[in-house]
Symmetry: D2
Subunit: 439 residues, 4 copies
């Protein structure tokens, strides 16, 4: 059965196209820096936003028109239909990867056994669709935040039974991710934090969180799951304060608990800005610390204080994001997962296509701009020049740790006339970036 009737596979038609169902910039097979665009970008569909989200918000009910959800009211049957819808959508969009939470793909049962059985049944279908289409699983994850049992946290719950339950759920989610040959497994701790310190033993909670992650690492070894583990930083929302606040906080946590070699980061644009950072800062920090894993590609509204998860259309930002990714060597296990939802008022089926086209085109533009910046060494040559004083003389001695305060004092007292500071040229650099964007 075809669910998106009248919509054929989205093709690249070039920047002059007026066809809303065509790519204007994303040309999957086009080579950039010697690699196909699609292999640079590794776009992934987020199962939750595309198949599950219904447009509810804290002040209103569902708005999304999803005719396939009208076919049946049986949750398992609905889940099966959604798999078909998902793969037809990905095929038509040219999305070669997807990501899911356990509870996105199959309804929770009354018992864990039932929930797991539901999962197995759906995973069978997903597996066959993957085989049929060649579409791959970028990463899997467990939803440890929606059910009321996680109201006070999952691995950081004050209730040990909930910790155990969460472990059980992650165990299964890892198993199905392995079965589907997922290249990663993500932890986003939406409830791993607190509402008020007045009732929170933060140290015990963080210790337990680390214990939980160590168990995951151990279990991965046991079952031979070789995908990459990711932690996804987010500062707040839903909880008032989340332990995985931002990249720096997560890196600190991973180092403290000796997990730095087992986890990388899944960095989300909108989470970066909610934490007060640019996305390129967060990626740079991850690259500098060897933990860039994957990217949740969306964008927020910087005038709003919550996670809007919009499709990324800001080409300035996609260019800088892609620049940092290229500079960091590109994706290994990770990719660009559209953790993005169409606006509540973009409720038609067509909008699912428009949203993804918008995002894929914006990242395609970003990639091409970034590639040219990289090839022309616009930024790198300037950096080499700007920091050249550390390649010779006293600067080299500093970097090689041959000098201390006394030697530096002696150097300065002898020198009298310091090397001049040079202008940072921010405005000029911003102009040049614009030239690369507009062409």
């Amino acid at each position: 059965m075809e669910y998106f009737k009248g919509i054929t596979k989205i093709k690249y038609e070039g920047s002059d196209s007026k066809n809303p169902f065509a790519f204007k910039y994303y040309n999957p097979e086009e080579k950039v820096l010697g690699k196909k665009m699609k292999d640079h970008l590794k776009f992934s569909m987020a199962y939750w936003h595309t198949l599950v989200a219904d447009g509810k918000d804290p002040f209103g009910n569902a708005t999304m028109e999803r005719p396939w959800d009208e076919i049946t009211t049986d949750p398992m049957e609905q889940a099966k239909v959604r798999v078909k819808v998902a793969f037809e959508f990905m095929e038509k969009m040219g999305l070669e990867y997807f990501c899911f939470h356990d509870r996105d793909i199959a309804p929770e049962g009354k018992t864990i056994e039932q929930s797991n059985k539901n999962l197995d049944e759906i995973v069978d279908i997903i597996e066959s669709e993957m085989k049929r289409t060649g579409i791959k699983l970028l990463w899997g994850t467990a939803n440890l935040f929606s059910n009321k049992r996680f109201v006070n946290g999952a691995s950081t719950s004050p209730n040990a039974d909930i910790f155990a339950f969460a472990a059980t759920q992650v165990k299964k989610a890892m198993e199905i991710t392995k079965r589907l040959d997922g290249s990663g497994f993500t932890f986003w701790g939406g409830r791993e934090g607190y509402e008020t310190l007045l009732n929170t033993d933060m140290k015990l909670e963080q210790d337990n969180f680390a214990r939980f992650l160590h168990m995951a690492v151990d279990y991965a070894k046991e079952i031979g799951f070789e995908g990459q583990f990711y932690i996804e930083p987010k500062p707040k929302e839903p909880t008032k304060h989340q332990y995985d606040f931002d990249s720096a906080t997560v890196i600190s946590f991973l180092r403290k608990y000796d997990l730095i070699n087992d986890f990388k980061l899944n960095i989300e644009t909108n989470h970066a800005t909610l934490a007060g950072h640019t996305m390129n800062h967060e990626i740079r920090l991850a690259v500098d610390n060897g933990v860039l894993g994957s990217v949740d590609a969306n964008q927020g509204d910087l005038l709003l204080g919550w996670d809007t998860d919009q499709f990324p259309t800001n080409i300035h930002d996609t260019a800088l994001t892609m620049y940092e990714i290229i500079r960091g060597g590109g994706f290994n296990t990770g990719g660009l997962n559209f953790d993005a939802k169409v606006r509540r008022s973009s409720f038609s089926v067509e909008d699912l296509f428009y949203g993804h086209i918008a995002g894929m085109d914006a990242y395609a533009v970003g990639l091409k701009v970034a590639a040219r910046l990289w090839e022309d060494r616009v930024i790198e040559d300037n950096l080499a020049k700007r920091y050249s004083s550390y390649k010779k003389g006293i600067g080299k001695d500093i970097v090689e740790e041959k000098v201390g305060f006394k030697e530096l004092e002696k150097y300065i007292l002898n020198k009298k006339v310091l090397d001049l500071n040079e202008s940072g040229r921010q405005e000029l650099l911003e102009s040049i970036i614009n030239q690369y964007i507009i062409g």
Copy 2:
């Protein structure tokens, strides 16, 4: 004497130019929508940022390298040099307008008489430079915020003497603005607000502010000053709360105090975002209320909580800003004043050029994008279609105010099946804007 040796008039060289001292997009004589780019944009230099700002910030001293300030230490002589520098700069940049505060152009004397004498002396020179170059005064203003006498406000001071002093100062500033044929006069109330309500009679202060503005209107009539008065909204900084918070607040104030026909708004991008609004929202609101006056063209950093006054380089924002201006009929008395400062670390003389080039190019791109959006009626046709239900039937009756609740109830009870809502298509519209930006 030439102050910017080795820098010749900045020319348009097109988008491929690598020359940092050239425009890539701003081609002043090029026609857009039947009018020269320069007449659409009416770029203006802010005297304060370009001639006076020295790079001080709350944590550090001056950084700017301004060789002309080393020529003399006498403030009046320095002021005279700066006039020459200013006009040479504007000529070389192709800036046809400027804006100033009284205290930017001439040092304050020990008495008002001396301050006014200083002003007159400098205004003579400015006048002759204006004649020589054809450069015009976009607007003048009085600095009622730097001197410690304004610590508790100027027209909103609890001290009536300070009110009187401010009046005296504005009187003179209006006189010189008239003499220089300024097309506007601006009020920015940097100290017209409060630090704490605990010590503030807000009503008296706002009443006095209105009285002050009425006096200005009266005096303008008396001396025959026909320039446009502007109020410039800003929510906070330096004071904790400023009375001219945002456009809506100022419009409310103008209506309440019967000043709505005498004042328009001078809207600044960075002030808009500090108040939680987009720049295009602020302009739209002003246009809808008939009070769009002029624009302070800069940009802020939305991850920072203070006024950064950066040169505008975000082409997405300049496009949307120019779109609203074109939609509003373009500038009449106003223009695009670069209330923008080079970064503290962009301290060289060259950066003054790079900053202005960056801003002028970004607005030139914005203008061209906006003009094409306007010509193609991309947005307007969509709006006409989206709101078409108000052109006929019950919608027309609503707009023509022919119906009330009872008639509408009757209509609905008879109708049963409502007209459907239509998707807002935000993602698609954002994609299309990107196509217009990148081309």
Copy 3:
């Protein structure tokens, strides 16, 4: 049937009480400034948070334990039970007022006729409970934001049918409010705004909003509803930008559309802070403009960017809020409505009591602090002194509008030595407030 078994009427036990089911500060019959505390504060229960809210948030499902909702699954039967629960709760809490949306009290039917019938049936029960208990309706309102038909706005919808539907719904909500002798009727425009200006005709939408309100005024006259109309400002959330941004914006709107005599403001603490204002600022502004109506008493978390609607426990803020209310002459039609919800993790029935006790005690403290500040004229005497220069001489001339710029210049030139500025003494005033709070 008793729903809160084991919980008896909450009594005042004084500040030493360790009983979580007792007031420590709120002593309803105690006289403050010659009036009973309960008549100053006029506490109201919000039907939506207390009876309807289930703990859902954008990332998780319901958490609230509400045994009475388990009694039946029939929506109308459930609605009837809730009325009983509501009145038992209010009686036990000593809450003498309540507020509701139409859709809080009765389920929406398949047709308007059915919805209205449902309402009538429930209103019968409410009416009899009101008679039985003496509890009064502070204000009613219509929910014009939850149903998907309002996805693009209600009175600001691009779809005229939706405008008509909203009118029909408000008509009925006004009728039942009148029937229940409500002292007010509130408009909160949760969807009256936009997601993006790209698809929005803001002027038409605002004109239509004004038309809608005029119809409400007309209809009130027609049916003899004499309650006060309120508009409730909120800057954003759920929409990206809401037209009723803050008090200043709403006042501007009311003046522009000649509604200023028919509407007052219902000001919410958390909405004030989301707009960048303190609550006391918003109330002061309303008082200064003669439009203080009622208060939604809650508090936000200033480190979070969304509406948290917490029970008010910040006694510094309740003191300053009550001070402004007392200064403004106290409530007339309005009161303190707890638009506050227990935290998602405060899911037990007891927490409903703890939350309301927390809020009522905090406001009782605030009232007593404010009353003493007012009686001792701590703030008012300081203001009188601080602004005394406007009571005589040139200041008096300014206020009486006898002088203009020329007279003021003459005054200043003659005076030479200005009256000195005086310290604002903010730190001292803050200390004194603390003394009043702690006692």
Copy 4:
């Protein structure tokens, strides 16, 4: 010579006192938890705000009335007077500690030698005043942010000469801190960050920052300086992004570069909130990681986006701050340093006293509230109960790391009925805190 004529030593007069020059709550010798209040709180004067700050802000000139600065215009003579003023002020205020930057106490000379000579000369006087009064140095620091040479950073400058200069300056500052027996030395990296990543080699800069700190540790050992090193987190301002963003970021940095045993944190209230955290969160995190050092006691305005450095008067916050400090074992080398400035409009000499009294009283209240909370075990007993499931059974096994995912799954599958979650009781806890504050 007496500089504060007419002001005698500030005494404790109790909560009913109307004397603005008296403590209402701070009673230095009073015992709390078996220790004198003054030894719990260890109040310190910030030399920069009290002796140097003049009321300048980005939009205005100096406002502070400081008669002692009028005595002479010679910077060294002025510096000497200020020492006397400082110690008279501290004596009268009962402040037993102070903190300073090198450039606060003595003017910078034309050469380093001259600057150091100036320092030595002033340090002689400080030393004798310390001996005379018994006042102690809480910590010293070097100002590596005001001079234009640090425009691009100090230890993170792209210019190796600047790194060397900064080292030379810190070397001297450490020497004088040692000489004055300072119990700590602080690094606040106001320019250690970036304006734009476009021109920044973040990794080299952070590596260099770490090298710099290692040199400081080495030099301390060499000269036998045994004071505690501190890093002071701040997210932004003056730079767009500062490397010492918040406590988590600094802890991460210290761990990465093997500095975790040599540094503790100096945590500032206003910096905490600018980073999106509560102050008690930041302290809790430091305590949990064993790096709580000292506190910069001030407060910000959460509706403003910059560092306002106000005197702390929020007693709710001082209570929670002191609670975390007590819970962490109290101060060892650190104390409460008033990194707070009187408002620009609190410009009189008296305001210096009012500001400090306000802050000291607010922290005294906070201490007493916190001590009672601690003694009554209000929070701790609740925590013990809330997390009790980790003391036995499966919870104990988790904490003791005896179980993995498989064992937990087995446990859950056997158990079926999970232990229930318990309400977090946030509203009740907040009420109780209020009871402790108001008494």
